[in-house]
């Protein structure tokens, strides 16, 4: 988010998902797309069937990587040297888009100077990728007429996540792969409405529509509409709150549809913090691990029981219509907030979901023309949509970047916070599996999905397993500096030597107990993708 906002002025997919089908080259970075985003993955497969070239940057041999024309199996956390290496190759081969750089970008000289100081042999050594493959990927990407770059959490969940994103943005700017249909930079969002939550200001430093709290005019507008003074400084990030500890800055917390007791790193610290709060309230559709610690639990309405909108990865705002009434005492999020406000002595005017949408349109230029009645027919609207007559925007930055010129931000390698060593010789990568969603609050309660995937497994390379005398299916203990857990080993060709992988869906093997609290200084996103561990046989 922060990285793309710096480079382009807007932190969202620049293309629509359907445009991927028509691309001639697709670069997928840090995304197991066919499992985590099957609807995007199917379009990538279709494009490749039609002859598109596929480059995959991923330490694991994912299904897409196995199909890729070039698979750059980098050492985890070395995206920046790899990408800088690709860009240097583009300069050496005279493949940079000079006209685009001249007309549409700024700060190119800083990037160029940095790239010319780069030693490509060091790049190959640091990333573990052969120079020849890096050069091939650079040529394929730069020469394609229509090139889409998709990235996901394998890029962002590092201590240098923001710098990683800036580096991918540099690559696209250098090759001029932006501002066009079927061509752009596309972060894939992992949840149906995480884009919408960000759009509505569920971030520490911005009001709805990415209007900064530092922007006096924007803040004034919201203060006038809401008839209350608003904080002039950004709030706390998630980990500032859930890792605050007994002396932390937050004393009371309302957690809505989120399960930090499974999803946040260093769970022991999270538990200590939540238990020490004066008041913890949780609103969710099932009694999650977090809700189990709460003083008050609000039963929430699920998607089928409420009316409103979801905003997808491709900035598409779509209606969600109530199909059935919420059971028992369950209530929608809006109802709950309004009732709470009333009890806290600040009664909100009773507002229907359509009225809330009108307020969003009034105060948020990106959503300026989006009203419920316009969403009734058709397939929603893609922001920016400034007024009622605007048809929405399938791809961003046409003609000019949102911030004016695209900005090159030279970046240097930041090693992961924890490197493997003698005591903890493996690099643990965490992620997701096909059958489960996030902390499994819903999917683990579904009999068919439970039958498909019942427990966490530790994926490891055959050579590593043999060296430790571990057989496939055997229970092993996974140990980090912060804790240990046992789970079943799966011996697979997907993993490189020295790397192991597991998912975070399972409370019985909650891998976030093992992870540290290292995070990106700008986005505050934790480093979920690298942790030093050792693997032991269970006696």
């Amino acid at each position: 988010m922060a990285g793309l906002a710096t480079a382009f002025g807007s932190g969202a997919m620049t293309n629509s998902i359907n445009e991927i089908e028509e691309a001639e080259l697709i670069l997928v970075a840090g995304s197991n797309t066919t499992e985590a985003h099957p609807q995007v993955g199917r379009r990538i497969l279709q494009a490749v069937d039609r002859g598109a070239r596929l480059i995959v940057i991923d330490p694991r041999l994912t299904a897409l990587a196995a199909r890729a024309h070039v698979h750059l199996a980098l050492r985890p956390g070395t995206d920046i040297p790899l990408l800088n290496g690709m860009m240097r190759c583009m300069l050496d081969d005279n493949l940079a888009d000079d006209l685009f750089i001249e007309m549409r970008t700024e700060n190119f000289h800083a990037l160029r100077d940095m790239l010319y100081r780069l030693d490509l042999d060091q790049v190959a050594a640091a990333t573990g990728v052969e120079l020849q493959s890096i050069r091939r990927a650079a040529r394929l990407y730069a020469k394609a007429r229509k090139a889409v770059l998709c990235y996901c959490l394998g890029v962002t969940q590092h201590v240098c996540g923001t710098a990683n994103v800036e580096t991918y943005a540099n690559l696209a700017l250098l090759a001029g792969k932006l501002e066009k249909e079927h061509t752009g930079v596309d972060p894939l969002r992992g949840q149906n409405n995480v884009q919408g939550a960000c759009d509505m200001g569920a971030l520490p430093g911005v009001l709805p529509g990415y209007q900064s709290v530092h922007d006096l005019a924007a803040r004034g507008k919201f203060e006038a509409a809401w008839r209350t003074p608003l904080p002039a400084e950004p709030g706390l990030s998630l980990l500032d709150m859930t890792h605050g500890g007994p002396e932390g800055p937050v004393r009371g917390m309302l957690v809505v549809g989120e399960n930090p007791m499974l999803s946040d790193p260093d769970l022991a610290r999270v538990e200590e913090t939540l238990r020490s709060l004066d008041c913890l309230a949780v609103s969710d559709i099932f009694l999650t691990e977090t809700a189990a610690l709460a003083d008050v639990v609000f039963p929430a309405a699920c998607f089928a029981e409420k009316t409103g909108t979801f905003t997808s990865s491709e900035r598409r705002v779509q209606m969600v219509r109530q199909a059935v009434a919420p059971p028992g005492e369950c209530r929608g999020d809006g109802d709950l907030v309004m009732a709470l406000a009333g009890r806290m002595g600040v009664p909100f005017a009773d507002a229907s979901p359509a009225e809330v949408m009108e307020e969003i349109a009034l105060l948020t230029p990106l959503y300026g023309g989006i009203y419920h009645d316009r969403l009734e027919e058709g397939w929603g609207l893609q922001w920016p949509c400034p007024d009622r007559s605007h048809p929405g925007t399938p791809f961003l930055h046409k003609g000019a970047f949102t911030r004016g010129r695209g900005r090159f931000v030279p970046t240097v390698h930041v090693p992961p916070a924890e490197q493997p060593d003698g005591d903890f010789p493996f690099t643990l990568i965490t992620g997701r599996v096909y059958h489960h969603y996030h902390t499994g609050t819903m999917t683990r309660r579904c009999a068919a999905l439970d039958r498909e995937c019942r427990e966490a497994v530790l994926e490891m390379n055959g050579g590593d397993a043999a060296a430790l005398a571990i057989r496939a299916g055997e229970r092993v203990r996974l140990v980090s500096r912060r804790g240990s857990l046992t789970l079943r080993a799966a011996v697979t060709g997907r993993m490189g030597p020295g790397q192991v992988y597991t998912s975070f869906h399972f409370t019985e093997a909650a891998v976030n107990r093992l992870l540290g609290a290292a995070r990106d200084p700008s986005s505050h996103c934790p480093e979920y993708k690298v942790c030093a561990v050792r693997v032991e046989k269970v006696a």
């Binding site: 066919t34 199917r42 039958r451």
Partner: protein, 354 residues
């Protein structure tokens, strides 16, 4: 030859209204989002009958519900542990506007579920069904029922078959229930003349010529029967399958199910029968974790071998009816069309001189 009739479109709703008095009526309806499904007609005047778009799902769920309670149990009954079968009502039902592929699928399912050990629920629902087909004048892009010999118009199997001739339907009578229906409501039906027969023939001819895809199903079936698909082919298909089960759930002839006991309280519960799919790993995985079907190799082989080889051996025809629904739904693009094309491709001898 059986007499052919005409039904003026003006008279369609009045006829359906009369049929509805003695029957439940199921017909294709367009919902407010523009999607067409077979649906039960409650209020005919507010029902958006859609005879132009082939429905997105087959009529399978009306005969085999996605979830069906087979029996309930109590542990504290008068004689201790007791079971009571659950018989869901199966009212006489007219299925109006069934596409030929969907009707053929019902006839195929009869072979599976009514031939030897009869499935009581299916049998009840099937006995009460009147099947009125609507021939497909305009096949969709993914349709290939011409290859599976299940459309766009049927030669037999229907009670009545309708052909859209613009302002009127051409009506063919297939089975006794259809004949009875025409006799019961005779004033609605006029005898068709020579011109109408010609017009119907023209529509059927144009429909048969308007398929966008042309696949050689017979060649694929023969290739599979003779030497099976190559390992490379099955590995490629398996690598693209995500194991979502969507193809089987949408398939009009897939009838595999699983059983689940659902506890409803400390001393009672019910046994459910639910749709299942052979592409799911849990379909064959053993309690100890071993899966005799290797997901990396066998997951789609089993599906296509069943559809195109085993069904032919057991029932004399492939269990694909060419509806093309799996074509649009698969994340990996490994649908029946792709399988047929790849299998047929392997059957052909290599070109000379290459």
């Amino acid at each position: 030859m059986e007499t052919r009739y005409l039904l003026r479109k003006d008279h369609l709703l009045p006829l359906l209204r009369r049929l509805q008095k003695g029957h439940r009526l199921v017909a294709p309806a367009r919902n407010r989002h523009g999607d067409t499904f077979y649906a039960e007609v409650r209020d005919l005047d507010r029902f958006h009958l859609d005879l132009d778009t082939p429905p997105q799902e087959s009529a399978k769920r009306f005969f085999l519900p996605q979830q069906e309670v087979l029996f309930t149990y109590r542990t504290d009954g008068p004689e201790g542990y007791g079971f009571s079968p659950v018989v869901a009502p199966s009212p006489p039902t007219v299925y109006f506007g069934l596409r030929p592929c969907d009707l053929t699928a019902i006839l195929y399912t009869d072979l599976v579920l009514l031939k030897e050990r009869r499935d009581p629920g299916y049998q009840r629902r099937r006995q009460e069904a009147v099947l009125i087909a609507l021939g497909c004048s305009r096949p969709r892009a993914s349709c290939f029922c011409n290859a599976t010999k299940s459309g766009p118009f049927l030669d037999f199997g229907y009670d009545l078959q309708l052909t859209d001739l613009g302002d009127r339907f051409f009506v063919e009578v297939g089975r006794a229930r259809g004949r009875q229906l025409v006799e019961d409501w005779h004033p609605f039906f006029a005898e068709a003349g020579e011109e109408d027969v010609k017009a119907q023939y023209q529509v059927a001819l144009e429909a048969a010529g308007s398929f966008e895809r042309s696949v050689d199903l017979d060649l694929a079936v023969r290739a599979l029967a003779d030497h099976g698909g190559s390992d490379a082919l099955w590995a490629e298909l398996a690598s693209r399958c995500q194991g979502c089960g969507g193809c089987a759930f949408l398939c009009p002839t897939c009838t595999c199910y699983t059983l689940r006991d659902q506890c409803l309280g400390p001393s009672h519960g019910e046994r459910l029968r639910c749709w299942d799919a052979c592409t799911l790993a849990g379909f064959t995985r053993m309690a100890g974790g071993h899966n005799p079907a290797d997901p990396g190799r066998d997951v789609l082989r089993r599906r296509f071998e069943h559809k195109l080889r085993d069904s032919v051996r057991q029932h004399g025809r492939p269990s694909c009816v060419g509806c093309g629904r799996c074509v649009g739904s698969c994340f990996g693009g490994v649908d029946m069309l792709m399988a047929i094309e790849r299998l047929a491709g392997e059957a052909e001898p290599p070109e000379e001189g290459v």
